[in-house]
């Protein structure tokens, strides 16, 4: 048995206590979140429109969410078994989003075709 070296127990006690990281890391993350938030606010302030606006919003949103998840919520230091159990299921919501996007396009077309207000 290869895993005989591991002291396998069913006890709920964690194997190590706590997440200890330098405070500098949190301050850096905090600062980056400020900059990214200011950047996404600037997108609105500069009145950028169209695909450029949407792309920038999504990029800044993704970076902010990633920083919060990885550093503040310590996901970067968790084992893959936990990270994937939490990060993969929301992909189902993305699929649902795709379905509803198609559906709402159909609804809009029906409204235009059959319920024109003019």
């Amino acid at each position: 048995m290869t895993h005989a070296t591991l002291p396998e127990t069913d006890s709920p006690a964690p194997e190590h206590h706590g997440q200890a990281h330098p405070i500098r890391l949190y301050l850096l993350c905090w600062g980056l979140l400020f900059v990214l938030s200011a950047a996404s606010y600037a997108v609105d302030y500069a009145q950028l429109q169209g695909p450029l606006r949407w792309t920038l919003i999504l990029v800044f949103m993704g970076l902010k969410a990633g920083l919060i998840l990885a550093v503040f919520m310590h996901m970067a230091w968790e084992r893959l078994a936990l990270s994937l159990a939490i990060l993969l299921p929301p992909l189902a919501a993305l699929v649902f989003m795709g379905i509803m996007l198609v559906e709402s396009g159909y609804t809009l077309q029906s409204r235009v075709d059959h319920f024109a207000t003019e």
Binding site: P12, E15, Y26, F72, P89, L101
Partner: protein
């Protein structure tokens, strides 16, 4: 205590080993932390479905969607600042996340005084956020925004706004209450007393602060998505 985690395989091998071990799958996370993550996952679906229904409403209506940049502008110093209050709220919530992260750090260093102070600072910023949210709601209600209609455009705007920000605000409010409870326990030194409780397994067990932090950061995380999709899109 020997560091058992270093003996475990990492990466995909570790993933397979953890899930195939016929025991608990989350080897280094306590039950408390794992269950908080599972709860947050379920909450992710709740907010995802709110945002998806908002997307459906917005992309299936013929009416013009109200311009959030104008609806949420604030008249400050003789000029209309687009999204001013929302931007301030965003910075307040991010700052509260920053203080929370540092509170977790000081908790593991068992620095009770600093931990309690940072948790209370987090709670104060959370309360400030809810206060500004309440101001925003009153302002919009005063301007005639209702769940069934509004003077700016598509009728669904009010319903999605009140639903999404209301649910988020509720999360923040409950977070503030729990922060006050945990902060007070830290201040009184309950985690150092050696008494077992539902938040503390043994003397010096400050994991409750980290678990509380997970919830708080999640509230901030959700706001990132609401800010992007509801206010900026």
């Amino acid at each position: 205590m020997t560091d058992v985690s270093s003996m475990r395989p990492g990466g995909l091998r570790g993933l397979a080993a953890d899930w195939a071990s016929d025991q608990r799958s989350f080897k280094t996370a306590s039950w408390g932390k794992a269950m908080m993550w599972i709860f947050l996952l379920s909450d992710t679906f709740v907010f995802a479905i709110f945002l998806i229904s908002y997307m459906s409403a917005r992309s299936s209506t013929e009416a013009e969607w109200p311009n959030a940049s104008e609806v949420f502008s604030l008249h400050l110093g003789g000029a209309d600042l687009p999204l001013a209050l929302i931007a301030i709220m965003t910075f307040v919530l991010i700052s509260s996340s920053g203080t929370m992260a540092m509170a977790v750090n000081f908790a593991y260093a068992r620095d009770r005084r600093r931990t309690a102070a940072l948790i209370f600072a987090t709670a104060a910023m959370g309360a400030l956020f809810v206060g500004m949210q309440a101001f925003e709601w009153s302002k919009l209600i005063h301007e005639g925004v209702r769940p069934w209609g509004n003077p700016f455009g598509a009728e669904q705007f009010g319903a999605t706004f009140f639903m999404i920000t209301g649910f988020h605000g509720t999360h923040v409010s409950f977070g503030v209450i729990f922060l006050l409870i945990v902060g007070n326990k830290v201040r009184k030194g309950e985690f150092d007393s050696g008494r077992r409780s539902w938040l503390c397994r043994e003397k010096g067990d400050y994991e409750a602060v980290e678990i509380m932090g997970l919830y708080w950061h999640f509230v901030d995380l959700v706001w990132v998505f609401i800010f992007a999709f509801f206010y900026l899109w």
